[in-house]
Symmetry: C3
Subunit: 263 residues, 3 copies
Amino acid sequence: MSTNEIKERIWPAIEILEDLSELRKQAPLTHVITNIVVTNWTANVLLAIGASPAMVIAEEEVADFAAIASGVLINIGTVTKMDANAMRIAATAAKKAGTPWVLDPVAVGALHFRTELAKELLTQKPTVIRGNASEILALAGTVGGGKGVDSTAHSSAALPFAKELSEKTGAIVAVSGEIDYITNGKDTIAVPGGHPLMTKVTGVGCSLGALIASFLGIQKDPLRATVSASAVFAIAGSNAAKESKGTGSFAVAFLDQLSNLSK
Amino acid sequence: MSTNEIKERIWPAIEILEDLSELRKQAPLTHVITNIVVTNWTANVLLAIGASPAMVIAEEEVADFAAIASGVLINIGTVTKMDANAMRIAATAAKKAGTPWVLDPVAVGALHFRTELAKELLTQKPTVIRGNASEILALAGTVGGGKGVDSTAHSSAALPFAKELSEKTGAIVAVSGEIDYITNGKDTIAVPGGHPLMTKVTGVGCSLGALIASFLGIQKDPLRATVSASAVFAIAGSNAAKESKGTGSFAVAFLDQLSNLSK
Amino acid sequence: MSTNEIKERIWPAIEILEDLSELRKQAPLTHVITNIVVTNWTANVLLAIGASPAMVIAEEEVADFAAIASGVLINIGTVTKMDANAMRIAATAAKKAGTPWVLDPVAVGALHFRTELAKELLTQKPTVIRGNASEILALAGTVGGGKGVDSTAHSSAALPFAKELSEKTGAIVAVSGEIDYITNGKDTIAVPGGHPLMTKVTGVGCSLGALIASFLGIQKDPLRATVSASAVFAIAGSNAAKESKGTGSFAVAFLDQLSNLSK
């Protein structure tokens, strides 16, 4: 696939504005099972944009909640054995109930326990898989498409593997990087923008996974929902960087931007 | 109960200033068992105001710590089976030691596991129960007073159920909302103020539960302690909104306000 | 030991600038096992300074990760039984692999469960032990050097016990306080500076432990690495206080300072 076959979606495309407006209207209930580093940040990101986050993590509760939520995120960043069970239950329940769900395979490939878990979760058919280039390469490898991890990989380098991963799993695959690439295996959309400071605040990428789960709750086309979420982050990040003095004030400005975007 | 039977306490009532001053002097050791979304924020809220937060959560440690703390918060927001055991032990120890404790029944009613847990915890006689209108309605239902959850309920609509819950449990019941209502079953005090941005930063309500636990450590009248905590939050929220550009800067300004209040 | 035997390292000592520059160049992979209150903050501190934090906490993963990391922090602040097992495994793996590691014995002495755990962890030979005066006194007591906890202790009062603890364990011991003292049992270095606001934001001390683990990854002399980390914090805290209006804006300014220091 040559680069000029990739469509670019630049803010403010009308579809993105429509989706954002709809998200603010519906405040989709988003079930977030994520790592302990980013729970607070992720909740604040979703509240800022206008979604309704709920972090329900008990084995006893996740199935019921995944069934009533309008979108689910499963992020394996700090997964323990107990969390892994809850994730299996939630993914199974989401699939059964038809709730769209996002898999964020943090650090997959590098560690055996979570790599096996990610493979298992793939069988529950995530609607979207979001990761950085290394993670997408590694995950593609587990389904026979890639050749292991390259921690220095650029998002464009991972694109062929992302397409293969998408074809094998049926999921939209989003590769985060300087440019985000989002593919359904055939069409690929590039979302440029953002700012390097987004990699210097923990959880920005992780919270994008949650935001995608929110957009899936109000936009039935998962490719479009994923693009809208990514574009919202790119513009908020780019704007926030202009008013920041360092990583601390960038995080604050990023939330401010999300809460004011397109108002 | 008619509206004019509700006493309003408007900041700066002299009692509130006295309590705040005493809290700053004593820096009460507050034992916080809360959900993983808001631990960091809650600790920062208590530090800002001048209390001494301590998040001790192990089954092996909570009994000893609840006995030496001057107040305990139990918030079931992200409760797991392991957490539930620690909460039972902590509540039992608090009751036995005479340590005042606050129950925050997050999302009770909506999910079976936590609803059963909340009912169990009620038997350990919380000093204060704090929740939003829906949670108070649901919890009242579990003790025979309410009729299930209404997620769109206003705090005033929950007031009759709050009074009944208070009468049946002996706890002060605080219903958070645009106006906070705090009742001991007979007297009800309304605390106006605050700002809608307080619902757009995760953990503001949850940290109010912790702040009530701190005030219980220095003010023996639990109705007054709960009113003081709520009033402090209302004024800090109202002031912070004036210097905010969005949800991110509101959170920062809210902590700044708490740390400077009445100095 | 008389006060004039303590060497003071005042920023900007050339070694500190060298170490900071090297840390930014190498971005050392720092394995952080810490308490649930400060995970987000700690990750943001390490990202701001230029290190690469990774919070891997599962029993199934910590041994592999401690072996490939360039430094490990183990902080027992909210330890549970499950966490304790992961900590034992991580400490053992770090020792076996020769990965330098930091023990932060939060609230040791006050609670039996964690005190026993800290004693166990000491057998895996931490490279550095960091705590406040009370914690160092208490930990020294567990190895026969001190006389229990004094929660009002000043860092200077703990110094003789810190030296004894260092001699008995072979670890560098860092006592945080108004002045930080860092000792290898013979030489002691005092790091003045900082600001009282650093005690009013949760996790500042805890994240210093993580930063020491990062510096250990790029500086083979553990005394120097610990001094460099402490000095970086002292200057960032002092500068941040000048631009703060309260505890909320101090936390933001502290991260900004870390991300801009010496650029």
